[in-house]
C-alpha cells in the first residue's frame, strides 16, 4: 500500500509514459523534449531581522547562488516578511533601502582606528583592536571604578565607559551582553541603534 501511495506522486520521464496524460490519448513526447531546452535556476529566500532599530521588523532576503565554493552568491532583493507579526510585510524607508546597505561600497568590513588628533582612519587587525579596547577599558575602569558611595554602601559601579550594541539581536545575545557588561559594573549600555 505504502509503495502504491508513493508511486502515485512520483514524477519521472518513464512514469509519464503510463500517466493519465498518455492514457487519455496525448503524446508525452513534446513535454519530454522540452526538458532539454531548459535548466534549473536556484534562488534562496532567507528570513532575517532588519538591523536598524529596536522595532525588529521581519525581512526576507532573496539571493541567487549557494554557499558552495566557486559559486558567486548575491542578495538581489529584500522585502518585508508578510508573516512577521511586527511589520506584516511593511518596511520603513530605511528598511526598504536595505539592499543598498548590503551592497554599499562604504560598508565597514574590518576594525579601524582614528588616533587622537588625526584625521585619518587606519585599518588594524582584529587582534590589535581587541587588545587595544581591553587595555583602554581596563585603564579607565581602574581609574574610575566606584566601589562604595558617599554613605559607604557597596555599589560597584563603572559609569565612565559605555557600550552601544546592535538592535537586531536575539534574546540570547541580549542576555550575554548584559552578563558580560554588568559583571564589570558597567551601567551605560544600550541595545539600540536609533542613529
Amino acid at each position: 500500500m505504502e509503495m502504491n501511495r508513493r508511486q502515485f506522486f512520483k514524477v519521472t520521464g518513464a512514469g509519464l509514459s503510463t500517466s493519465t496524460l498518455v492514457a487519455l490519448g496525448f503524446s508525452p513526447a513534446p513535454a519530454l523534449a522540452e526538458t532539454r531546452s531548459f535548466k534549473l535556476a536556484k534562488a534562496t529566500e532567507t528570513r532575517n531581522t532588519c538591523p536598524y532599530c529596536s522595532v525588529g521588523c521581519g525581512i526576507i532576503m532573496y539571493s541567487v547562488g549557494d554557499k558552495a565554493k566557486n559559486v558567486k552568491s548575491e542578495i538581489f532583493h529584500i522585502e518585508g516578511d508578510p508573516d512577521h507579526p511586527v511589520n506584516r510585510g511593511t518596511l520603513c524607508p530605511k528598511g526598504a533601502g536595505l539592499l543598498d546597505f548590503v551592497h554599499s561600497p562604504n560598508r565597514l568590513k574590518y576594525p579601524q582606528v582614528r588616533e587622537a588628533g588625526s584625521k585619518e582612519w587606519k585599518r588594524i587587525s582584529w587582534d590589535e583592536a581587541m587588545t587595544r579596547i581591553a587595555k583602554l577599558m581596563k585603564e579607565d575602569r581602574d581609574a574610575n571604578f566606584v566601589a562604595k558611595n558617599a554613605d559607604g554602601k557597596t555599589v560597584n559601579r563603572w559609569t565612565t565607559t559605555g557600550m552601544l550594541c546592535a538592535s537586531a539581536s536575539s534574546n540570547e545575545t541580549g542576555y550575554i551582553t548584559h552578563k558580560v557588561m554588568r559583571s564589570m559594573g558597567m551601567l551605560v549600555f544600550d541595545n539600540q541603534a536609533r542613529v
Binding site: 493519465t20 496524460l21 490519448g25 513535454a31 528570513r47 508578510p82
Partner: protein, 338 residues
C-alpha cells in the same frame, strides 16, 4: 530593482487599521470564479504550449465543472454536531478518504461525461472519454475509492481525471453548501486542524502553494487543496511536507543557455526542502496576477521533470495528471522516506 518599488506607502490611518489585523486562515472556494478562472488560465497557457492539446482538454473539462457547480443538486450534509465533533478533535469535517459520498456525485459524473463529449470534437482524448459513458456504478465507486485513498493498483488512468473532476465538484459543493447553511458570525464550520499540511476541510494534499495578493493588502502564502480547492495559510519559506524551515530553495526554469548570474524572478517555482527532499510548486501573484495553482501546475510539467531529475520528490497532487508506474522495476533509492 530596489525593494522600495514593490512596497506601498501607508498613511498613518492605514497603519492604525492594519495593526490588529489577523491573517485569514483560509480562503474557501468561490462558486462563480473557481473553475471559470482556471479555464481562462488553461486557455491562456495553452497558446503555443508543447502540451497544447492536453491543456485545452483540461480547459474543456474545467468548463463543464464550472457549469455543473452552478446548479449542483442538493446532497446530504453533515449536521452541526458532526461538524463540531470534528472540530473538537481538530480533524477535517469532510475527510476524503472515508467520507460517505452522496450517490448524487455519480449522476453528476455522468452529466459531466455527457456534456464534455460534444466539446471534444478533434481532441485526442475523445475516444477514452467515450468509453466512460457506460461505466457501472460499482466500478465508478471503486475508482473513486482508489483515487481518494491514493491507491495506484487497479486505477484506470484514462478514467481518473474525469472521476477526479466529478469528485472535485462534489467536494467543492459540499464546502460551499455547508458554509451557506451553517456559516454565520458565531459559527465557522471550518477551522484549524491538527495537521497543518493537509486541507482543513477534506484532509487532502495540496496541488501547489499560491502567494496571494489580497484586497486587505496582505501577501500571504496559501496551500491550494487538490480536491475541494480550499486554500489554507502556511507561512512562507517552510516545507509543506515536513514543516522544516531549513534548507528551503526555489527552483525555476531557465532557458538552457542563459547566464547563471541573472536573478530568477519566475512566477512559478518549485519550493524544495533539503531536510525531507520533497517539493511543492508555488505560484506567485505578486509576479503574475493571472496565475492559478492547478492550471499553472499542469502547464509546468517540464519544471516537475527537471526538479525530479535533481532528486526531489513531488509532494503536490494534481488529480488531472497522475503519473503511472515506470516500465522498469522499482527504484531501489525510493525505499526510505517518511
Amino acid at each position: 530593482m530596489t525593494a522600495s518599488q514593490t512596497i506601498p506607502l501607508l498613511s498613518p490611518e492605514e497603519i492604525a487599521v492594519r495593526a490588529g489585523q489577523q491573517v485569514p486562515y483560509q480562503h474557501l472556494p468561490d462558486r462563480l470564479n473557481l473553475f471559470f478562472d482556471r479555464e481562462t488560465r488553461l486557455r491562456q497557457r495553452a497558446a503555443g504550449h508543447p502540451m497544447r492539446d492536453f491543456l485545452l482538454f483540461a480547459a474543456e473539462l474545467t468548463h463543464v465543472q464550472h457549469d455543473l457547480l452552478q446548479n449542483y443538486p442538493e446532497v446530504a450534509l453533515p449536521d452541526t454536531d458532526a461538524l463540531q465533533s470534528a472540530a473538537q478533535v481538530a480533524k477535517p469535517p469532510l475527510p476524503a478518504e472515508h467520507w460517505p459520498r452522496d450517490p448524487q456525485w455519480r449522476m453528476q459524473f455522468r452529466r459531466l461525461v455527457e456534456q464534455l463529449l460534444p466539446r471534444l470534437k478533434d481532441n485526442p482524448a475523445r475516444a477514452s472519454v467515450e468509453k466512460l459513458q457506460d461505466i457501472s456504478d460499482e466500478a465508478l465507486e471503486q475508482q473513486a475509492d482508489r483515487l481518494l485513498n491514493q491507491v495506484m493498483f487497479g486505477l484506470d488512468m484514462a478514467a481518473a481525471p474525469l472521476v477526479a473532476a466529478a469528485l472535485q465538484i462534489y467536494w467543492t459543493h459540499l464546502v460551499l453548501a455547508i458554509l451557506a447553511r451553517y456559516g454565520n458570525q458565531d459559527f465557522s464550520p471550518f477551522g484549524r486542524t491538527s495537521d497543518a499540511t493537509a486541507c482543513p476541510c477534506c484532509g487532502s494534499r495540496p496541488t501547489a502553494s499560491v502567494s496571494r495578493l489580497d484586497s486587505t493588502g496582505g501577501q500571504y502564502r496559501y496551500l491550494h487543496c487538490s480536491l475541494c480547492a480550499t486554500q489554507w495559510h502556511m507561512v512562507r519559506i517552510k516545507c509543506s511536507h515536513c514543516e522544516s524551515t531549513k534548507g528551503i530553495h526555489y527552483h525555476s526554469m531557465q532557458v538552457a543557455d542563459a547566464r547563471d548570474d541573472v536573478p530568477a524572478k519566475a512566477s512559478i517555482e518549485a519550493e524544495t526542502c533539503d531536510e525531507c527532499n520533497h517539493y511543492l510548486k508555488i505560484v506567485r501573484m505578486e509576479r503574475d496576477h493571472e496565475v492559478e495553482p492547478v492550471a499553472d501546475d499542469l502547464a509546468t510539467l517540464t519544471l516537475d521533470l527537471l526538479v525530479s531529475e535533481a532528486g526531489y520528490l513531488r509532494h503536490g497532487v494534481n488529480l488531472l495528471l497522475l503519473f503511472g508506474e515506470p516500465s522498469e522495476a522499482g527504484d531501489p533509492g525510493d525505499s526510505g522516506g517518511p
